[in-house]
Symmetry: C2
Subunit: 354 residues, 2 copies
């Protein structure tokens, strides 16, 4: 399959309805696995890395649950395409580097991907729209079980699955939920709410993952450690906290709409005015404005737009997506112009065609 | 004539084309005169002030050039109406106070007004759109000559006309030109250009006159002293400097449109987006946004809008205008909502009716 087709399908998974989609953009689960008697990928030599790709490749061919997956060698594709895949959350920053012997297998709708020679030899990742952790976990378990049956996976009775980074030790499980929390941000209740997360051994990150700033009122909640708990317990602990946050966000929106409706209405329509008229727009600003439009959908404005379109749009406006689709060379201004053009075409203000 | 009618006509003078209107919003000239043997208005007793109003009133009835003028006693009208007249530049901040025995006579189109018991006993003021100093000066001179012929005006052979404030001594003349300089502001050349003004004994003020901040890229250039020069020389010295500034502004716009067209286009359309969508807007913000739209007219956007509409609009959106027209009580939020409503109705974005 051509790389273009994979890119084209990279956000298909995000186009479907998901539970609690008014607050939850997406759910992500990944499992880290390593092969025995081979150094972790970050310390392995070229022939060892190549050995991993061969072993995994042979296995995948025979796995029922991994049939029809597409293969990309990250070393062989342009930087922009790797950035594109990272922005789509399909590969990690580690794989974005595009070193040799780094592979990715993706399901036809890009919901499931298997990364080879990331920090760990194998990372199985599942993405789903909305709050969809339990069924996603079951799906990944099926793939994991098949791989474990055939591959010599590093496992200790005492520690569980062995991983390159100690934080992944045990289950090798990372459960993340991307939340859209404009209500809590607008009401200045976000810090207070996020403090709620800490005692549960969960962490909060921004849209772009580790060390990223909060942008577009998007917050990623994930488990901190994967040791000493079962997979089920980890999923449950994330679910419980996320459901509490959803409740808080709903309360905040209710409060906003009843007590500060004019200010919110003004903020939403101003965002619409800018999105439908600007000629140059950077990612950060676009994310902030789109966040308000997403809140506006919830408020009942913009009847011809829905949450799903916005989830996709928040990915589509990312830098590499703009560069790739517009076939532009790198360069902030042209990228920012292409972004403004795309947004204007979507928000279709007649004035903008003058 | 009803006060309402005067208010209704208060900006008629601004609706006509004027020379250099792409840069010059309006010209204003005023002459300060005082009657002999009566203390200046700020120090006069009630009966002395009343004596002034009677003397001036009797004279005006018989002056050819002041026929058909409307009379308002500022003490007898509501605060909002006085504020409205001040915003229209028809009365001064001093008359806005609405003390007893303060009168204003206005020509039917509000171009000419005669203030009685301002800081000086008599102030004759003329307003005109665009750069229109010489004909306006001639017009005021005719009125002034008629008044001087009949009234006992305080005049010293050595000092010229005597005035309450020494800065008005001599000719009693203040010549002001309101300039719209978005090009120089955008190119950060405004300070440099304004330094040019100082050696010519001119001052620069903001839209609201003395001590006011610059708003909407509007700058008022006026003569500093009125002593030791003839009226003609004062008008000429203002004209020379204003013409130089117009040239600089034209150069700046040319440069902007050729070298930074995308940034300017973006700024103009963003302003349009906000004006056509915001639900709440304060005066300061509206002035800034309208300034960019006025620049956009010059750039060839907005073919159904013109400079004149904008000159009027910059007055119409002022606080007391909003209060009066919307018959609202004072209150920033309702005023700011009414302003946003007015602006949306003018910029008519279909999205704003959703």
């Amino acid at each position: 399959m051509m790389v273009q087709n994979i890119l084209h399908e990279s956000d298909v998974w995000l186009s479907q309805k998901g539970p609690s989609q008014h607050v939850v953009v997406s759910s992500r689960i990944r499992l880290a696995r390593n092969l025995i008697r081979i150094p972790f990928s970050t310390h392995a030599k070229s022939d060892e890395l190549s050995h991993v790709t061969r072993l995994v490749g042979d296995t995948i061919q025979n796995c029922k649950s991994i049939q029809g997956f597409n293969l990309i060698s990250l070393h062989d594709i342009p930087t922009t395409v790797r950035k594109y895949l990272k922005e789509s959350h399909i590969i990690s920053p580690e794989l974005e580097k595009g070193d040799e012997h780094r592979l990715i297998y993706t399901s036809p709708n890009c919901r499931i991907s298997i990364m080879v020679n990331e920090e760990d030899h194998i990372r199985i990742q599942g993405l789903a729209p909305g709050l969809y952790l339990k069924p996603l976990m079951e799906e990944l378990d099926r793939i994991d079980t098949e791989l474990i049956e055939v591959l010599p996976i590093a496992f200790s009775e005492q520690l569980g699955f062995l991983t390159a980074c100690p934080t992944n030790l045990g289950t090798g499980l990372r459960v993340s939920v991307m939340l859209h929390l404009p209500g809590l941000v607008f009401c200045r209740l976000i810090e207070e709410t996020m403090k709620m997360v800490q005692p549960h051994c969960l962490t909060v990150r921004g849209f772009y993952g580790e060390d990223s700033d909060y942008t577009g009122d998007l917050f990623q909640i994930s488990n901190e450690a994967s040791l000493g708990k079962s997979e089920e317990d980890i999923v449950d602990s994330v679910l419980i906290v996320v459901e509490k946050i959803i409740e808080k966000e709903e309360e905040a929106r209710q409060k906003l709409f009843s007590e500060r409706d004019l200010a919110v209405e003004d903020a939403i329509w101003r965002s619409y005015g800018l999105l439908s008229h600007a000629r140059v727009m950077d990612t950060q600003e676009a994310m902030g404005l789109l966040s308000r439009i997403r809140l506006g959908i919830d408020r009942g404005y913009f009847k011809d737009l829905d949450h799903l379109r916005f989830n996709k749009l928040m990915i589509e406006i990312q830098p590499a997506h703009m560069e790739y689709k517009a076939s532009f060379k790198e360069g902030t201004e042209r990228r920012d112009t292409a972004r403004a053009d795309l947004l204007r075409s979507i928000f279709q203000a007649p004035g903008s065609n003058n």
